[in-house]
Symmetry: C2
Subunit: 524 residues, 2 copies
C-alpha cells in the first residue's frame, strides 16, 4: 500500500496516520506523569516555589497533582508576574524613584501590559486555557488597514501615513512585474524550463495583480478613493492610484521598523489568540487551583542550601520569616536573582549577572471615542512608525464600544530606556505628541493614561531574557541543571523566551525532573 | 504653511484635516435626512415593502424615522432573507422536491448559511451594528495554518495537504531569490539606479527570508517539524525543509481554486468581522425596531400599479389579501420577481429574466470534538481544495469548546448545482468523503449535518446577482429608476452585490429617492 493509497482511504485511523507522520504531533494534553508505579511518592514532600508567575504557578499546580506539598512565595500582592492586565484601579510605582500611578480606565477597558498574544502553535498555553476553562478570542495582529508613518526622511512619503495594504500591494505588484519581466527576457532561463517559467509568470500575475501586459498599474486591492467606495445605483467606486516603485524604494519603509514582520514570522502569523477580558484570566485561573498555597506580599531575601534541601528567608508583614523544603523551584527573573543573597553556584550566579534582559515599555491611552474604528476603519492590529513610540496597538475587543484604550507605544532597547526614564506625565506627552501625527484625533479625544517600563517594574526588572549564540552557549546551560536541590524555571530557561508557552513548558520540565529524581530515590 | 508643516501641527482639527484630504471620508453615521423644512411630510404616507431581508427592513426603519407608514410583506416566517444563521431547530425544505431538514446542532453551535463576514470598509454595515447595538467579534478569514489539498494531479503534492504558511513562505522565498538574482545580474538595470536596486534587494532579503547569498533555503516562517517545536531546556526546535520551486510550480497550487485570494483581495483583507452569536443578530436587531410592521408568512402574488400608487396581493393563512399604498419598495431577489404577476415595465421584467444569480451551497457539519483546533492548530480560517467541496471553513467562535460545527463545503456554479441536486444524505456523504482526505478525523468525530443550496431555497432562488459588463450595461439601469411608484432595492441594485452593505446602501438610496420625490410634491 503506497502512502497515497493509504491517505486516500478514508477509514485511516488517527493513530495510524500519526504513525505515518501525516499528522502533527498529538494534541497537547493535561500533564499526567506516571507515578513510577506508586500513586503517592510525591506525597508530603515539600517544595518551595519562588514566584507566582505562570512558571511558578504551573509548577505548583502540576506538582500538586502528584501529591507534593507546595508553597509559592510571591513578592507582589498579585499573581501573574509579567502576565499583567492593566485596568481601572491598577496601582504601580516603578523602581528608582518612579511616580505612583493609579489607573483611571473606565470599567471594561484595559490593556495587557505584558504578555499580549498567544500564537496558534503555542499548544501548551492553549492546553492550559482549555484545562482551566479560560475562554479565548482572536487577537488581530496583522491588520492591512493599519498605518505606516515615516517621520522625517525625504520625499513624498515623509511625515505621511499610508495604509499597510497600499504598501503591501504596491510592493507585491512591482516586484511581480519586475520578475515577470526578467522571466520574459529569459534572464533566468538557465534555471527553469519554458513551461515552468510560464507557470511562474501566471503565479506572478495573480500575486501582483498584473495587467495583461504583465505591468502593475494599481488595483482595488489597495483600496478605493475616500468617499468613493463602491455603492448603490451608479457608484462603482474609484480605485486609488499606486505609488511609484522608485518612490517606494526611497520612502524609508524598507527599514526594519516598518517591515511588517507580523504577516511572516512564525510567532506572529495568523492565528493569534487572547483570553476574553484580559490576559490575566490565565494567572487568575491558575490561582484558583492553588488556594492557600500562594503567600502574597512575601518577597524572598535569602535562598540557602541545607543538608536535606533548601531554606528560604522571605519578608512577611515587615518581618523575616523562614521556610524549609526538600526542593526549591526558582522562577525569579534573572535580574531579581542577581540581587538575591544565596548559596547558588558560581555558574548560576554568572548567568544571573550576564544574561541580558530586554528593556521595554508600553503605555495605555484611554480615548473617549474609538476614532481608529469610526474614522479609520481599524479594528485591532498594529501601526508602525520610526518615531520613538514604535508601534500603536489597537484593541482586539470591545469593537464599536463607546470608549477605548489603545497601546500608544510599545518599544524596546534604547527607546524604551529613554522613555522609561521619564516621569509618567512626560511619557504621556510624548505618546500623545508623536501619536497625533498618525491620528490627529488624539488631542481632542484623549482622557488618561497608564504607562510602564518593564525594566523598572519591581520584581520583574526587565522584559524577557535575550540570548544570542554566545550567551546561550556560555550561561544558559547552568540554568538547565538543578543546583543541588534548587531547580530553575521561567521563560529564561527555554527557547521560547518572552512567551507564556516558555514559562509553562519550563514548569513541566522542572516537574518532570523533580519527579524523576524522587522516583529514583524511592526505587533505591 | 506646507502640507507637512500642517500635519506636523498636532493642533490640526479633524475637520481641517478632512478638508486637506488627509483623512478618509467622515465616519458612517445614522441616516438623518432633512425633512425639506417640514418635520412631517412623510407622515401617514403609505409604503409597502416587499421582503424583510436587510434591504427591506432598513428601508422600513429609515422611512419610519421620517414618519412614513410602512408595511413589510415577508413570505417566510423569519426575517433576514439570505442573512440566515443555521442552528438547532432550523427547518427548511428546498424547492423542486427538496427533503425536509431539521437542524440537530447542539445549543450554542451554528453556522451562517448566507452572509458570513463583514469587511472593515463596509462602514454602513458596521454603522447599523453600532446603531442597533449588535456586538461584533473578529471573523478570521485568513489563517496561515489552514490547508491546501490538491486531489488527483501528479507529483509529490498530489493527494497531500500542506499548510498555507508552507506554500506562502516557499513561494515568497523563491520568487524573492529569483528577482534578487536577476537584479544582481543587472538584468533589470535599465529601469532602476544602482542604489535603488540595492534597496530592492534588501527588501527581497526580508520578503523572502533569504540567506546572505540571497538564496532561499527555508526558514522557521514555514514551521517546525512535528514534535520538534522550540521548547524548554535543550529543545531549540527543528525547522522544516522547503519544497522545491519546480515541484511547487508543478504542484497544481497555482490554480485559481487554491489561490489564497483572502490575503489580497479588497473584500477579504483583514480585518473582517462577524456578529457575536450569529449573523442573524443583524436582522433580529432590525426586526425589533419594526414591531408590528412586518407581516410574516405573507408571500406576495401580485404587484399592480394603480392611479395613486400600488396594489399588492399576498397570501395570508391560505387566502389572498390586498394592500394598497402610495409607494412600493420591492427588494425581492430577481429570481422571485421573475415569477411574480405584475404590471412592471418590460425593462424591469427583462432584468428579472436575464440577470444571472449564482448557484451556491454550504453544509454545516457538527463534530463531537474540535479536532481542527486540538490536532491541527486551526482556529478559524479556510482550507482550500480542488475537490467539489472547494473550501472548508473553521468557526471563528467558541474556540476550545467541546463540540464544533464547521462548514464542510462552500462552492459555486456547476459544483454547487451538482451537489445541490443531490438528496441531503448524499450531500453529507460527499462532504464527509472528500473532507476526510484533508481531515482523517472526520469519520470518527462526525455527528450530524445541515445543508443548503441557495438556488433551491424558497423565496431566494439564488446566491446573489452576478453582473458582467454586458448585463450591467443592458439590465442594471432599469433597476435604478422607479417604475412609476415602485422602487427597487437589494444587493442586485448596487456595485456591492453579494454583500450586506449592498442591501443596506440600496435601502438608503431608495429612501432618499422617495423622500426627495415627496419633498417635490409638498413644495408644489
Amino acid at each position: 500500500m503506497t502512502r497515497r493509497d493509504f491517505i486516500n482511504s478514508t477509514s485511516a485511523s488517527y493513530a495510524s496516520l500519526l504513525a505515518w507522520g501525516m499528522l502533527p504531533s498529538a494534541p497537547a494534553s493535561a500533564m499526567n506523569l506516571p507515578a513510577n508505579g506508586r500513586t503517592s511518592e510525591g506525597k508530603g514532600r515539600k517544595v518551595v516555589i519562588l514566584g507566582a508567575g505562570l512558571a511558578g504557578m504551573a509548577t505548583a499546580y502540576e506538582l500538586g497533582k502528584l501529591g507534593y506539598d507546595c508553597t509559592v512565595l510571591e513578592a507582589r500582592s498579585r499573581s501573574g508576574g509579567r502576565v499583567w492586565t492593566i485596568r481601572g484601579g491598577t496601582k504601580e510605582t516603578e523602581m528608582n524613584g518612579g511616580t505612583d500611578q493609579t489607573c483611571r480606565f473606565e470599567d471594561g477597558l484595559y490593556f495587557n501590559g505584558g504578555a499580549a498574544r498567544i500564537p496558534h502553535h503555542h499548544q501548551l498555553t492553549l492546553q492550559y486555557c482549555r484545562e482551566l476553562n479560560v475562554p479565548l478570542e482572536i487577537f488581530n495582529g496583522n491588520n492591512e488597514a493599519a498605518y505606516l508613518y515615516n517621520d522625517g526622511g525625504t520625499g513624498d512619503f515623509a511625515n505621511r501615513r499610508l495604509r499597510i495594504k497600499e504598501y503591501h500591494n504596491d510592493m507585491r505588484g512591482y516586484t511581480s512585474e519586475l520578475l515577470a519581466k526578467a522571466l520574459d527576457q529569459s534572464a533566468l532561463d538557465q534555471q527553469l524550463t519554458k513551461e515552468d517559467i510560464e507557470k511562474l509568470v501566471d503565479f506572478l500575475k495573480n500575486e501582483g495583480d498584473l495587467n495583461t501586459n504583465h505591468l502593475y498599474k494599481g488595483t482595488n486591492r489597495r483600496g478605493y478613493k475616500a468617499k468613493n467606495e463602491p455603492g448603490a445605483g451608479t457608484a462603482p467606486g474609484e480605485v486609488t492610484d499606486p505609488y511609484g516603485l522608485t518612490d517606494l524604494l526611497r520612502s524609508g519603509f524598507m527599514q526594519p521598523v516598518f517591515y511588517n514582520v507580523g504577516d511572516y514570522i512564525y510567532e506572529q502569523q495568523t492565528t493569534l489568540m487572547q483570553p476574553v477580558g484580559g490576559m490575566d484570566a490565565i494567572p487568575r485561573a491558575f490561582e484558583k487551583k492553588l488556594t492557600g498555597k500562594i503567600l502574597f506580599n512575601a518577597p524572598v531575601t535569602e535562598l540557602r542550601k541545607t543538608e536535606n534541601g533548601v531554606r528560604v528567608v522571605y519578608q512577611k508583614g515587615g518581618k523575616p520569616q523562614e521556610l524549609t523544603a526538600e526542593f526549591c523551584v526558582c522562577t525569579l527573573p534573572l535580574p531579581m536573582l542577581k540581587n538575591l543573597e544565596s548559596d547558588l553556584s558560581g555558574t548560576v550566579k554568572r548567568a544571573a549577572d550576564f544574561v541580558p534582559y530586554i528593556k521595554t515599555g508600553k503605555i495605555g491611552l484611554q480615548f473617549k471615542r474609538r476614532f481608529w474604528e469610526e474614522d479609520d476603519w481599524i479594528y485591532g492590529g498594529i501601526s508602525r512608525t520610526n518615531m520613538d513610540i514604535n508601534q500603536i496597538w489597537y484593541p482586539s475587543f470591545g469593537f464599536q464600544g463607546k470608549k477605548g484604550v489603545l497601546i500608544g507605544y510599545y518599544n524596546f532597547y534604547s527607546r524604551a530606556e529613554a522613555i522609561g526614564a521619564m516621569p509618567v506625565a512626560e511619557r504621556e506627552k510624548l505618546a500623545l505628541t508623536q501619536g497625533s501625527k498618525i491620528h490627529p484625533q488624539y488631542p481632542s479625544e484623549f482622557e488618561n493614561s497608564f504607562s510602564l517600563a518593564w525594566h523598572r517594574v519591581p520584581y520583574s526588572g526587565g522584559g524577557w531574557a535575550t540570548y544570542d549564540d554566545a550567551t546561550r552557549r556560555k550561561y544558559y546551560p547552568a540554568l538547565l541543571e538543578p543546583d543541588d536541590n534548587i531547580y530553575f524555571a521561567g521563560e529564561h530557561t527555554t527557547y521560547l523566551t518572552a512567551w507564556m508557552a516558555g514559562a509553562l513548558t519550563s514548569a513541566r520540565r522542572a516537574v518532570e525532573a523533580i519527579h524523576a529524581r524522587v522516583g529514583e530515590y524511592t526505587k533505591k
